[in-house]
C-alpha cells in the first residue's frame, strides 16, 4: 500500500536496499536503510513526529503554541513540517556553520532562525536554546537530546522495520548525533534480536567545532546510554567524504556526508567479519540524502578540496 491520507502518514517504513557492490562477499553483506525517503528527507521525521505528538498527548502543546528547538538542521526541518501542518510557530537555534540549504528550507517553512556561534558547534546551540527556553516559559522546547519520545520513535518503528526486513541482521551501524536513533533502534534490537552488535559512527569535525572555552562546556545528550552500544568509531571528514562518493559510484546511492562516516565504520566491521570467516548482515543507516549539502562543496572537486571546504562545518 503506497497511498496515505497526508504526508505525515508517509513517515517511516523506508526501503532497505542491498549494497551488493560494496559488500565484500555473499556471506558478508551490507544493507542501506534509506531514511531520506521520509517526508522532509531525513530520519529526523520519525523523531519530530513522535516528540510533537507526545507533547500534544501530554497537553504540553496548546494550539498556536511556539516551539523552540536547538538543531543543526534535520530535526528543525522535520519539526517545521509537522508544526506547519498542526499550527505551531517554530523557532530554531542553529549553529551558523551549517549548510545554506538547511537555512533556506527552514525559512521556506516559515521558521524563525536564531543563529548560534560556529565555535562550539551544537553545544552552543543547545546552551543558547536552554537559556532562551528559561527566559520564555510559554515556549515549548521539545529538546531532542533529552526527549524520550525521540528514542521511542525508533523503538516503535525503525527497529521493528529492520528486524522484519532483515531477520538475519548481525550489526546496526548508525551515526551518533542526538543519539536517539542508536538508543531507540539499539534498545529494540538488544531486546528482540540478542547478539546484534550496535555500532556508532561518530563524525570527527574540523577543529573549529571543538572550540570550547572550557571542558565543562562539553555535552553528552541525556538520552545517551553507553550500555546500548558495543562500539563507537570516530570517522574524520576526509574518510566520510570518500565513502559518500564511493556510495554514489559503486551503488548509485546519493547520501549526505554523515552516511559516508557510517559506511566507513560499516566497512571496518565487514572487513573484520571477512577476516574471522563469519557471516554478517550489516545495516548502514542512511540518515539523509546529499541534496542539502551541495552548496558546501562536499560533492565537487577533488576529495582534498571537498574536505577543506567542509572543515569547520557541521556536516552531520
Amino acid at each position: 500500500m503506497a497511498r496515505y491520507d497526508s504526508i505525515l502518514d508517509a513517515c517511516g517504513d523506508t526501503p532497505l536496499v542491498g549494497l551488493p557492490n560494496l559488500s565484500p562477499s555473499d556471506e558478508v553483506r551490507l544493507w542501506a536503510k534509506l531514511e531520506d525517503r521520509n517526508p522532509t528527507g531525513s530520519i529526523k521525521d520519525r523523531a519530530a513526529l513522535s516528540m510533537l505528538t507526545a507533547a500534544e498527548d501530554a497537553g504540553v502543546l496548546k494550539p498556536g503554541a511556539t516551539i523552540l528547538e536547538p538543531t543543526s538542521g534535520n530535526t528543525g526541518i522535520a519539526l517545521a513540517l509537522v508544526s506547519r501542518l498542526r499550527g505551531y510557530k517554530l523557532i530554531c537555534v542553529m549553529p551558523e556553520n551549517t549548510s545554506a540549504e538547511r537555512r533556506q528550507l527552514l525559512e521556506l517553512y516559515g521558521v524563525k532562525i536564531v543563529p548560534s556561534p560556529a565555535a562550539g558547534g551544537s553545544n552552543q546551540a543547545v546552551a543558547m536554546a536552554r537559556k532562551l527556553a528559561a527566559e520564555n516559559p510559554d515556549w515549548v522546547m521539545l529538546d531532542q537530546y533529552s526527549n524520550a519520545a525521540n528514542a521511542a520513535a525508533h523503538i516503535a518503528t525503525t527497529g521493528p522495520e529492520l528486524l522484519r526486513d532483515l531477520p538475519t541482521i548481525t550489526h546496526l551501524v548508525a551515526g551518533l548525533g542526538t543519539t536517539g536513533t542508536l538508543m531507540g533502534t539499539g534498545r529494540f534490537l538488544r531486546d528482540n534480536a540478542p547478539g546484534v552488535k550496535i555500532v556508532a559512527a561518530e563524525p570527527r569535525y574540523g577543529e573549529l567545532v571543538y572550540g570550547l572555552r572550557n571542558l565543562d562546556e562539553g555535552f553528552v545528550p541525556e538520552l545517551y546510554d553507553e550500555k546500548i552500544l558495543h562500539r563507537r568509531i570516530s570517522v574524520g571528514t576526509a574518510d566520510a567524504l570518500r565513502r559518500t562518493r564511493q556510495l554514489v559510484f559503486d551503488e548509485g546511492v546519493f547520501a549526505g556526508p554523515s552516511t559516508g562516516a557510517v559506511l566507513h565504520a560499516a566497512l571496518v566491521v565487514a572487513g573484520e567479519a571477512v577476516k574471522s570467516g563469519s557471516a554478517a548482515d550489516i545495516v548502514v543507516m542512511v540518515a539523509d540524502a546529499g541534496w542539502k549539502y551541495l552548496s558546501t562543496g562536499a560533492y565537487s572537486g577533488s576529495l582534498e578540496e571537498a574536505a577543506e571546504a567542509l572543515d569547520g562545518q557541521l556536516w552531520a
Binding site: 543547545v126 536517539g180 571543538y210 570550547l212
Partner: protein
Amino acid sequence: MSVEVRIPTILRTHTGGEKLVSGAGDTLSALFADLDTRHNGLSGRVITAEGSLHRFVNVYVNDEDVRFTGGLDTKLNDGDSVTILPAVAGG
C-alpha cells in the same frame, strides 16, 4: 615504543601549543602518566581524581572510543594513534 597523541585546542596550553605529541606506555593510563612528565597537568584534565575518564572528554585509539575497549586499561602498541576530543553534540 612510541604512540602519537592528538591534542585538542582546549588542552594545548599543556603542550606549549603543540597539536601532536608523542608518548609511550603499554596502556592508556601508562601513556597519560608518561605524557604528564613532559606536559604538566594534561593527565589531570583528561582523567578524574577517581581515576576514570572525564565525562566530557572522549579518547580514541586508532579511531575506537576507549570506553568500549577497556577504558584506561586499553592496551597500546607501537605506532598507535591516540586522539583526545571534547564531547560535542550532533543532531
